[in-house]
C-alpha cells in the first residue's frame, strides 16, 4: 500500500512548484488583508487529488492496479490515506498563513480562533471529498465532478432559500451547546464521515468491473 500512496504523491509532485508560488501569492494577499485567500490552498488540495483520479482513469491505472498483489481494498485505502497526507500538508501551510495573518493584524496570535478556522476549513474539504470519492469510484471522475458541483450549489441555493423562508434560529440555538465542544465534535464528525465514505468507496470498487 505504501507504493500506491507514493504513486499519488509522485503524481502531484509536478504541481508542487505551482503550489509554492500560489502559497507565496496567498501569503502576500492574506497579509494585505484578504482573509479569503487562506481558503484557496485547501481548495487546491481537493483539485490536486481529483487530478490524480483523472490521470488514473485516463491511463486506465485503476484496472492495471487490480493486476498487482495489493488487492482492491488497498487501492482505495491508499487513495484516502494520500488524501489525509495532502490535507495534513495543506493544514500545516494554512496554519503558517493564519498565524502570520493574526500576527500582522493584531501583533498577537489568537490560537483558539486559528484552530477554529482551521477545523472549519478541514471539515469543508473532507465533506466535499467524502461525497466525491464514492461518486468517482461509481460514475467516473468526469460525471462525479459535475455531480459534486451541482450538489454543492444545490445545497447552497436550497439552504439560502429555506433560511429566507423559515427561521432556523431556534434549531440553531438547540445545538449551540455543541459550540464549546467544537474542537472535539468537528474532528470526530469529519473523520467519521471520511471513514464512512472510505467504506462505501471500497464496497463500490470491490464489485466494479473494468
Amino acid at each position: 500500500m505504501k507504493g500506491l500512496i507514493k504513486k499519488d504523491l509522485f503524481m502531484i509532485r509536478s504541481n508542487c512548484k505551482i503550489l509554492l508560488i500560489l502559497f507565496i501569492v496567498y501569503l502576500i494577499m492574506t497579509i494585505e488583508g484578504n482573509d479569503f485567500a487562506m481558503f484557496l490552498l485547501p481548495f487546491m488540495s481537493i483539485m490536486l487529488m481529483i487530478s490524480t483520479f483523472s490521470y488514473d482513469s485516463y491511463n486506465k491505472w485503476t484496472s492495471y492496479a487490480i493486476t498487482l498483489p495489493n488487492g482492491r481494498e488497498k487501492s482505495v485505502r491508499a487513495k484516502y490515506l494520500a488524501t489525509l497526507l495532502i490535507a495534513l500538508v495543506t493544514t500545516i501551510f494554512t496554519l503558517i498563513l493564519l498565524i502570520a495573518v493574526s500576527y500582522f493584524k493584531t501583533n498577537t496570535i489568537n490560537m483558539e480562533e486559528i484552530l477554529e478556522n482551521m477545523l472549519g476549513m478541514l471539515f469543508g474539504i473532507f465533506v466535499i471529498q467524502a461525497f466525491m470519492y464514492p461518486s468517482i469510484y461509481k460514475f467516473g471522475v468526469e460525471k462525479a465532478r459535475i455531480g459534486i458541483f451541482i450538489l454543492v450549489f444545490g445545497v447552497a441555493i436550497i439552504g439560502g432559500v429555506l433560511s429566507k423562508l423559515f427561521d432556523f434560529s431556534k434549531i440553531a440555538d438547540m445545538f449551540k451547546f455543541l459550540n464549546q465542544y467544537s474542537l472535539i465534535v468537528i474532528p470526530l464528525a469529519m473523520f467519521g464521515l471520511l471513514y464512512l465514505s472510505y467504506k462505501v468507496s471500497e464496497k463500490i470498487y470491490q464489485k466494479k468491473e473494468f
Binding site: W61, T67, P69, K207
Partner: protein, 285 residues
C-alpha cells in the same frame, strides 16, 4: 505435465456478448498464443484470470491455486502487460521502480534498470514524452522485473518496430528457458506467435474454435488453392471452410496428408495463422 494455468468452463454474460465455456490448459515451460478478431473474447478471458471482471462462472486455477481465493499470492508471481493500461503518464520510469519496490516482494531494481538500459529507455522522463513503442518496452520491463512465473500479455508487441519486436520476443523465449515459467499471450501479429507459441487457442465470438499445439496445427492443416472444377470435387466433409477469390477457391482442410491421398491436388499450401483466422471467420462452411 503440470499446468501453470487451468481454466474450466469459464462463462460470462454481457448485454451484447457472451463468453461461453472457455477451457484452457497451459503447461509449465510453454507459451500459449490467443488469437481471434477484435471483440472475440481474448481480453475478457485475460481479465477474468486477473479478476478485473467479476461474476463469471467457472473455475480458474493459477499455479494450482484458485485465482479468487489466493489472489494476492498468485499475483506476486504474475507479470502483466495489458493493452493501454498502465501507470499514469505523468510518472517517470524511476518512479515506477520506487513504487513497485513497495508492491512486489521480489521486485528487482537492478534487473528493472538493466531492462531500461537494454531498451535504451530514459529513467527521468515522464511516460507521456515516450513514443508508443518505448512505452510498450517500459511496460514489458515492468512486468519482468519481479521475476514472475507466469506472464499474461495482451498485445505486447503492438506498436513496436520489427527490430524491437524481435528483441522482445527473444526476451520472452529466454523467460521460458527454465521450464518453470509460462506465457499466455494474445496478439494480432500472428507471425510473432508462429515464431514463439507452443500452443494456439483460437477464440471466436466468445467460444474456443480450436486449441492445439502449434506444430500439430501447422503440420496437419493446409490451404488448398484450386479452380471451380476441382472445388466441386471436394466433399463437404473434407473441408473446414472455403473462400471464393476472384480467380480461385481457397479451401481450409484439417488433414492435408489425408486430403492429398484422396484428391491428389498439388497446390496445398502450408497454412499460416493468418490464413486460419481469415478462413475460419470469413470463410463459408
Amino acid at each position: 505435465m503440470e499446468n501453470i494455468l487451468e481454466i474450466k468452463n469459464l462463462s460470462k454474460k454481457y448485454k451484447d456478448f457472451q463468453l461461453k465455456d472457455i477451457n484452457i490448459k497451459l503447461p509449465k515451460g510453454m507459451i500459449m498464443g490467443l488469437i481471434g478478431e477484435n471483440g472475440a473474447g481474448k481480453t475478457t478471458t485475460i481479465k477474468a484470470i486477473l479478476d478485473i471482471i467479476k461474476d463469471y462462472q467457472g473455475e480458474i486455477k493459477v499455479f494450482g491455486l484458485d485465482n479468487r481465493i489466493d489472489e494476492k499470492k498468485i499475483k506476486e508471481d504474475i507479470g502483466v502487460v495489458l493493452d493501454d493500461m498502465f501507470f499514469p503518464e505523468i510518472l517517470m520510469p524511476s518512479d515506477i521502480d520506487s513504487i513497485m519496490r513497495e508492491i512486489y516482494k521480489n521486485w528487482d531494481s537492478s534487473l528493472y534498470f538493466k531492462y531500461l538500459n537494454d531498451f535504451s529507455l530514459p529513467i527521468k522522463k515522464e511516460i507521456k514524452t515516450l513514443s508508443k513503442g518505448m512505452r510498450k518496452k517500459l511496460e514489458i520491463a515492468t512486468c519482468l522485473a519481479h521475476h514472475p512465473k507466469l506472464l499474461i500479455l495482451d498485445e505486447p508487441t503492438s506498436g513496436l518496430d520489427p527490430v524491437a519486436r524481435n528483441e522482445v520476443i527473444d526476451i520472452f523465449l529466454d523467460f521460458i528457458q527454465n521450464e518453470e515459467c509460462s506465457i499466455l499471450l494474445s496478439s494480432h501479429i500472428t507471425t510473432d506467435l508462429e515464431h514463439i507459441a507452443d500452443y494456439i487457442t483460437f477464440i471466436n465470438q466468445g467460444e474456443i474454435l480450436l486449441s492445439k499445439t502449434k506444430d500439430e496445427l501447422m503440420e496437419q492443416y493446409g490451404v488448398v488453392k484450386c479452380g471451380l472444377e476441382d472445388f466441386l470435387k471436394i466433399d463437404k466433409n473434407d473441408r473446414l471452410r472455403y473462400k471464393k477469390n476472384r480467380y480461385e477457391y481457397e479451401v481450409l482442410v484439417e488433414n492435408k496428408k489425408e486430403f492429398n491421398k484422396k484428391y491428389h491436388m498439388t497446390t496445398i499450401d502450408k497454412m499460416t495463422l493468418e490464413d486460419l483466422m481469415v478462413l475460419m471467420i470469413k470463410g463459408v462452411k
